[in-house]
């Protein structure tokens, strides 16, 4: 969700910035759902991305649902640039250690800043925000399809589904093998199907090309990735569906300001009108989204 900022605009002299201590500001902020997290670990994943694990209050974890996101401050205290928070959906929650993991790829200045944090530093969080994926009571077979860092919320959803004894097929596409999620990141109960543009692993081509085999198997489909992927998804799935089954839920990627439905800067055009993706999304029924 880093669409707001110019890509590849990494700072000059960023190593010097990294040495500055980040002042914790633990005073009351005056707002609920706002808290300071401590960075617990930063591990490389999927090429140039990182898994950023931060502390979070138990109360936050207990109400967090897959597909929800946090609006994260991506600058040093006292700096107003880059100004806006960045929305990140949760990759994984850890109830045992009271922590959250985010998948961060350095696209622009905010994500680059976030991906360069070190354990012990403080990060300003607002959340959980937004709606969530909804797994139907009658669904047993769930099909996930993720593009790039879009896999993040699907990992948390798959974790929960596997724990609840549901059958999960997880399809992921990337340019090359390096960009794929390692199979070890998913429960061994989950069938993991991959596609790469160069054929370095799995199917050679787009993830949406292997999708067809699973559509009629699935009770529900969940997707997260760039918008062109949803157009392809719709084109592939539509001829295979009967009475709009299986249903398809997608997480829409939008640049945001407030994250609370006030600014209407992140709307998604739907059959119901222009809808704030931060509050009534980011998860939408693909059938109602106008792409």
């Amino acid at each position: 969700m880093a669409g707001l900022v110019a890509r590849n605009a990494r700072w000059e002299g960023q190593k010097d910035y990294r040495l500055l201590p980040v002042t914790p500001s633990m005073e009351s902020t005056g707002a609920s759902r706002e808290f300071e997290s401590q960075v617990l670990s930063v591990e490389p994943i999927m090429g140039d991305a990182v898994l950023l694990t931060v502390s979070a209050p138990a109360a936050v974890l207990s109400r967090l649902k897959p597909g929800q996101f946090f609006n994260i401050v991506t600058r040093f205290p006292g700096s107003w640039d880059p100004l806006l928070r960045r929305p990140y959906s949760v990759y994984r929650s850890h109830h045992d250690t009271s922590a959250l993991t985010f998948l961060v790829r350095p696209f622009g200045r905010g994500s680059a800043w976030l991906s360069e944090r070190l354990p012990g530093e403080q990060i300003g969080m607002l959340g959980p925000l937004g709606n969530s994926f909804t797994v139907s009571n009658r669904a047993q077979r769930l099909l996930m399809i993720g593009g790039g860092v879009g896999v993040a919320p699907l990992v948390m959803l798959s974790d929960e589904a596997a724990t609840n004894g549901l059958d999960v097929v997880f399809i992921m596409g990337a340019a090359t093998e390096d960009g794929l999620l390692a199979a070890s990141e998913l429960s061994n109960r989950i069938e993991y199907v991959v596609a790469t543009d160069d054929g370095s692993r799995g199917h050679r081509g787009l993830a949406t090309e292997v999708l067809g085999d699973y559509v009629q198997w699935a009770d529900q489909i969940f997707a997260c990735g760039p918008e062109p992927m949803y157009r392809t998804l719709r084109a592939v799935v539509e001829p295979l569906r009967i009475n709009r089954k299986p249903g398809i839920q997608v997480s829409m990627e939008r640049g945001m300001a407030c994250g609370l439905g006030a600014c209407l800067g992140c709307v998604v055009e739907t059959t119901r009108g222009m809808i704030a993706s931060c509050v009534q999304g980011p998860v939408f029924d693909l059938d109602e989204v106008i792409l």
Partner: protein, 331 residues
């Protein structure tokens, strides 16, 4: 949390209006940044705010602009939301009844393209007990004058202010456009036309271009620049306007903390609005109230009005001034 700080933060923003606009403190959530209040009601204690201003309401419902509607800029942002709102009639059904249960004063921001539409909306709002005041957005194209922005011209700003004044006895705040070549003369004109207070500044019109796609980043091409990047411009304009008029001035533009707020008070603002800062830091307006009380107490002031305008030699002088001087031109 708040300590024993006891200075008087209250402010009267419509001293000459019998319907009054007395706020318990000078911190107001700005239009467009606070929705209709309910969006933040679960995040902060909105009843602690001095007041809040609704999103801009128009005569008819508006779907708003296509996406993208916002883009970040250095220490700021551009927005072109396009006044997405339910229109005055849909608005009146939904929000004032909700506000009636709150204690925080609700100010309604109105926008239109015709003087008669502004007056029509003001007349409707006049009958709403839950509406504390109107903020008139004059940064709109006047379609009867070829789309020239009302707020850029003293006479057009005065015309719309006069029409709204005739349609309502509600406290009336006119929100000035920083695009005016001489903002003080617009301020004087709307004061004479019946404004109870003046707020400024609205966003500055800007643009950002996607170099790779070779086209503007915003679907609307241009958008309003806000945030810390515009603060010096806002402080300067508040300084000039506060010297030229006698009605209370409400300052805004890039306030992110106590020091920023103090600059506006010292320049002559009786109250402030926080906009973009709320997006980034939702707790900011409440924290500003506490920080301001603590600061005044620590500096030995017993009330906010003791610091308003003290950095402004001409504060509330209302003097006729040359349209420009070397000083006013920043030379």
């Amino acid at each position: 949390m708040s300590t024993a700080a006891t200075p008087d933060l209250s402010v009267d923003l419509a001293p000459d209006n019998s319907r009054e606009l007395r706020l318990r403190n000078p911190v107001i959530a700005a239009s467009g940044c606070f929705g209709y209040g309910e969006e933040y009601s679960g995040i902060i204690d909105i009843n602690r705010l001095g007041a809040f201003v609704s999103k801009g309401i128009t005569p008819e419902r508006r779907a708003g602009n296509p996406m993208p509607r916002i883009v970040e800029s250095p220490a700021g942002m551009l927005n072109a939301i396009g006044l997405q709102n339910p229109g005055i009639h849909g608005f009146v059904k939904k929000y004032p009844p909700m506000w009636a249960r709150w204690t925080v004063p609700a100010i309604v921001n109105i926008s239109a393209e015709l003087v008669s539409d502004y007056a029509m909306m003001a007349a409707i709002l006049d009958e709403q007990p839950a509406v504390a005041a109107i903020e008139l957005n004059v940064s709109c194209p006047n379609i009867a004058r070829g789309g020239y922005c009302f707020g850029w011209d003293p006479l057009m700003s005065a015309e719309v202010t006069r029409a709204v004044r005739a349609a309502t006895t509600l406290p009336l705040i006119v929100k000035l456009s920083p695009g005016a070549p001489n903002i003080a003369s617009v301020a004087v004109a709307v004061e004479e036309a019946g404004a109870d207070a003046i707020s400024l500044i609205n966003t500055l019109v800007g643009m950002a271009i996607d170099v790779r796609a070779r086209k503007p980043l915003l679907a609307n091409h241009t958008g309003g620049v806000s945030g810390p990047a515009i603060k010096p411009i806002a402080v300067r304009m508040v300084y000039q306007v506060a010297a030229a008029v006698r009605v209370p001035v409400i300052g805004m533009g890039g306030i992110m903390g106590l020091n920023d707020a103090l600059e506006f008070f010292l320049a002559g603002a009786s109250a402030i609005q926080v906009g973009t800062g709320i997006f980034v830091d939702p707790g900011l307006p409440i924290r500003l109230i506490d920080d301001l009380a603590r600061w005044l107490d620590g500096e030995g002031f017993s009330s906010l009005d003791q610091i308003v305008g003290i950095a402004n030699d001409g504060f509330r002088s209302g003097q006729e001034r040359p349209l420009a001087t070397w000083e006013s031109l920043g030379v």
